[in-house]
């Protein structure tokens, strides 16, 4: 019995690779296994190699695995591109149709199953995916009846006959595999799952559901990879709550429309990736200057320019902090798990309204698109706070003065009224303005209003600005990361600890304002600090040095080839830092 294994299915884009993984995963997470997925895809619709890798475990996991146990191949390219990842004793289950060849230097066994032929005999070659699922399940020894309800859910509306033939396809695939391989493979027999019911979702699903939980009613957005799933979920859901998604002409319209909607009193937001965020830079400044709440999600992908649109990267860090002209109060949050993405999204709207400023929720492609099992979200953790939004009847105001929307208060946050409110009338402008919102260019006013705006975040309340796992008082190593690298860092840390290296881990959750106070003691007490991030210039390391210091003991582990960090890569690089240091 093993506690975890990795399975991958590959073929041409548009061939149903996604659904093969989906059905296989469903059976596993419903048995109470923890899952973590990774999709390799290209910026095209049909054709081009794509694969879907799923890691299955009896323990909670938050990272892709280092190697691969089972590879299901629908074409030779899948084998050629992925065979090196297979471990000794791994297997390739391949469709007979393309006459698969196992490369000379392979470590894996090849098992040929006639996916297409079996499917065609049952009615349609489309069911070759189901045959592959059946063969995979046989290798793992998963009882096939687990698929019955799943197939019914997916194909039920197409009639009993379709359901029946899909179940048969799974059974035939399993039968064939068992005949060829002589039953389940011992190496792949998983210890039983805990049977607990979990959600299985991508980060974008969690972000979108978080928006609904936060009370969002309007999303204005422009489609882009890897953010579009947020929009797609809300196109389905918002009308059920009276709201709507407006697909705008560009990201400038998306951001400014969201600003308009927030100004009117509705919770509204937009989501995009780097190119869209670049276009929104001026709008974000407008929200900062006019103190209009605004939430923007940035699902980072490979940059710059169009860059690597379907690949993992964390290179928008600096752009999200500094990406607008002038100086505004702004909050940048960085969830590192699907759970955090959900709860952070709710909190993003609370902070945007409480502090009346733009909030950026920084995700990355692997967090946004990696499908994983998560414990069901907790209703009782959802709280809606709207700050100094006025809703009581207001005292009469002098018509020629107007409501002091930008009153210079001790905490910098001013009472907020909405259009339509009696006695709340005021002007809003991106021009520097006085307390009632009327333009003012006097030197005194400029200083008062600039200080007022920047003062707002001085006492920002944020529950966990840094996720800290610090077992050691004076560790050999402090690992610092952000976003979806959390799992890879955790696993690398475990391996290093097993080898006697003492390691603490700090994962940045509030990127801006930077949690310098929380980070300072951690950095001071560590012998070496390694900042792990997916970009080429060490942006996060730069921020740590800028805000905390420790230049002489900080080194960077960088990856910018478009693929997420694997635990072994982090481990190897960190190990290098420790052993190099001990030889100096």
């Amino acid at each position: 019995m093993i506690n975890q294994l990795s399975w991958k299915v590959g073929g041409q884009q548009g061939e149903g690779i996604e659904s093969t993984g989906e059905i296989f995963a469903k059976a596993l997470y419903r048995l109470g296994y923890h899952l973590y997925g990774y999709r390799h895809f290209s910026s095209r619709i049909k054709g081009g190699h794509t694969n879907n890798k799923i890691r299955v475990s009896t323990e909670k996991i938050r990272s892709v695995s280092d190697d691969l146990d089972i590879l299901v191949a629908f074409d030779q390219e899948t084998i050629d591109v992925n065979f090196e990842e297979l471990r000794q004793g791994g297997i390739i289950i391949a469709d007979e149709k393309f006459k698969p060849v196992n490369p000379d230097d392979t470590k894996a066994k090849l098992c040929v199953v006639p996916f297409t032929k079996i499917a065609t005999e049952l009615g349609t070659s489309l069911m070759k995916n189901m045959v592959a699922v059946g063969a995979s399940s046989a290798a793992l020894g998963i009882p096939l009846e687990n698929y019955h309800p799943i197939v019914k859910e997916i194909f039920g509306r197409k009639g009993d006959k379709v359901v029946e033939s899909n179940i048969q396809a799974i059974e035939k695939g399993a039968e064939y595999f068992n005949r060829e391989a002589g039953g389940p493979i011992d190496d792949f027999t998983l210890a039983p799952g805990d049977g607990k019911q979990r959600m299985y979702m991508i980060g974008n699903d969690a972000i979108a559901m978080g928006a609904i939980a936060a009370g969002v009613r309007i999303m204005s957005a422009y489609p882009i990879t890897p953010a579009s799933e947020i929009m797609e979920y809300l196109i389905d859901k918002l009308p059920k709550f009276g709201g709507t998604v407006i697909q705008t002409e560009d990201e400038i319209a998306a951001a400014t429309m969201a600003i308009g909607a927030n100004y009117s009193g509705v919770r509204a937001f937009t989501a995009s990736a780097g190119p869209g965020l670049s276009l929104m830079a001026e709008s974000i400044g407008l929200a900062g200057m006019t103190e209009t709440p605004l939430v923007v999600v940035d699902t980072q992908r490979g940059g710059p320019s169009t860059g690597l649109p379907t690949k993992q990267e964390q290179s928008d860090i600096m752009a999200m902090i500094y990406g607008t002209h002038g100086e505004i109060p702004k909050v940048v949050m960085a969830p590192s798990t699907v759970e955090e993405a959900f709860y952070d999204m709710v909190e993003a709207f609370n902070i945007a309204e409480e502090y009346q400023c733009p909030v950026i929720l920084l995700s990355d492609l692997q967090l946004s698109l990696g499908k994983q099992s998560v414990d069901p979200f907790d209703y009782n953790r959802i709280e809606i706070r709207r700050g100094k939004l006025m809703n009581e009847s207001l005292p009469e105001i002098d018509k020629n003065e107007g409501f002091k929307r930008y009153e210079n208060t001790p905490d910098g946050i001013s009472p907020r009224t909405l259009p339509g409110m009696k006695n709340g009338l005021h002007h809003v402008t991106g021009v520097e303005h006085a307390e009632t919102g009327k333009p003012s260019e006097t030197a005194d006013n400029r200083k008062v209003q600039m200080d007022k705006r920047l003062r707002k975040l001085r006492h920002l309340k944020f529950e966990t600005p840094v996720h800290i796992d610090a077992k050691h008082e004076r560790p050999d190593l402090l690992l610092i990361g952000i976003g979806s690298t959390r799992g890879a860092i955790e696993e690398a840390m475990m391996r290093l600890e097993n080898e006697g290296v003492s390691v603490n881990h700090a994962h940045i959750r509030l990127l801006h304002p930077f949690p310098a106070e929380e980070m300072k003691p951690l950095i001071e007490k560590a012998r070496h600090v390694v900042v792990i991030e997916q970009n080429a210039t060490g942006q996060l390391a730069g921020l740590v040095k800028l805000n905390v210091g420790g230049r002489d003991k900080i080194s960077s582990v960088l990856k910018y080839d478009g693929n997420p960090f694997k635990p072994a890569e982090v481990y190897k690089e960190c190990k290098g830092v420790v052993s190099h240091a001990s030889h100096v």
Partner: protein, 289 residues
């Protein structure tokens, strides 16, 4: 006490040049709002950047002076957030037809129920006299000292082809007609575009008040002109090189975005309870299990 146009006045002194066409636009909006019985609280004026963009600060109502070229998306967001508000977007020809042209075309075809008033002076005023997309060919400006070599946009024709449901053109000298057009635009159920020839007395020495008086054709003077006939509207515009004033076209059949967006609330969204019930939440969670 009934509302009068004085209720829409505030004490801010416009920084427009004496004689600027925008004064009349400001007065027309104030009069139209009063004539329709609106209150300052229920009116939101969203403006762009430029001389004319300052208009939202000169009217006693809710006002949002945004960024260059983006008055329309902000205004559409305001209306979608609170459909009970009367929303007017306003700005200049540079704001709406140069930097903001993408938004103008799409706001027209989206047909959200707001009124867009463009103060068209065929020049960039605030930046001290450069060519605009509405400047005629040969027009000499600071940026085109030898005369503009680009064609001016035929904006009314463009609006018609983009699927506009309300297209009108006014002139700053005719306060009464302009007020009436703005009233009709506000009452129109859908997006209304009102282009106003609003002369720049400082930088445009060609398209002056007198020039417009000489060249503009009043649609009321064209016998049997039918503002519900799109083809005739296009022909008339082309025949007169766009130099007409009055209601050019109105489509009362097409429904506004708010009325056809699936599921969109009849109540102002800003007023609705946003807290999910536990049952609603559990249903959402259940979809991923």
């Amino acid at each position: 006490m009934p509302v009068t146009f004085k209720d829409f006045r505030n004490k801010v002194r416009p920084n427009w040049c004496p004689g600027c066409g925008d004064f009349s636009v400001q007065a027309s909006i104030q009069r139209a709002a009063a004539n329709l019985g609106l209150t300052p609280d229920s009116l939101a004026i969203i403006s762009g950047i430029g001389c004319s963009g300052r208009i939202s600060g000169y009217i006693n109502s809710y006002g949002f002076h945004g960024i260059h070229g983006r008055a329309l998306p902000i205004a559409q967001g305001v209306k979608m957030g609170n459909r009970d508000l009367t929303v007017i977007a306003a700005g200049g020809d540079g704001d709406g037809f140069a930097i903001g042209m993408g938004h103008t075309i799409h706001a027209i075809r989206r047909n959200i129920d707001i009124t867009y008033i463009v103060m068209d002076n065929q020049i960039y005023g605030l930046t001290k006299g450069q060519t605009s997309p509405r400047s005629d060919m040969g027009f000499k400006t600071k940026s085109t000292p030898a005369g503009s070599v680009e064609s001016p946009l035929s904006i009314m024709e463009m609006a018609l082809t983009a699927g506009a449901t309300f297209v009108a053109q006014g002139f700053s000298s005719d306060l009464k007609d302009l007020t009436s057009l703005i009233e009709q635009g506000i009452q129109h159920q859908g997006f209304s575009l009102i282009n106003v020839f609003s002369p720049c007395v400082t930088y445009n020495k060609v398209n002056t008040y007198d020039w417009f008086k000489e060249h503009l054709i009043d649609l009321n003077d064209i016998e049997d002109y039918d503002p519900h006939n799109r083809v005739a509207a296009m022909q008339t515009l082309m025949a007169h090189n766009g130099l007409v004033k009055g209601l050019i076209y109105q489509d009362n059949e097409k429904k506004s975005y708010q009325d056809i967006a699936p599921g969109y609330s009849q109540e102002p969204l800003a007023d609705t309870n946003i807290q999910l019930t536990e049952d609603q939440f559990k249903a959402l969670v259940g979809e991923f299990m």
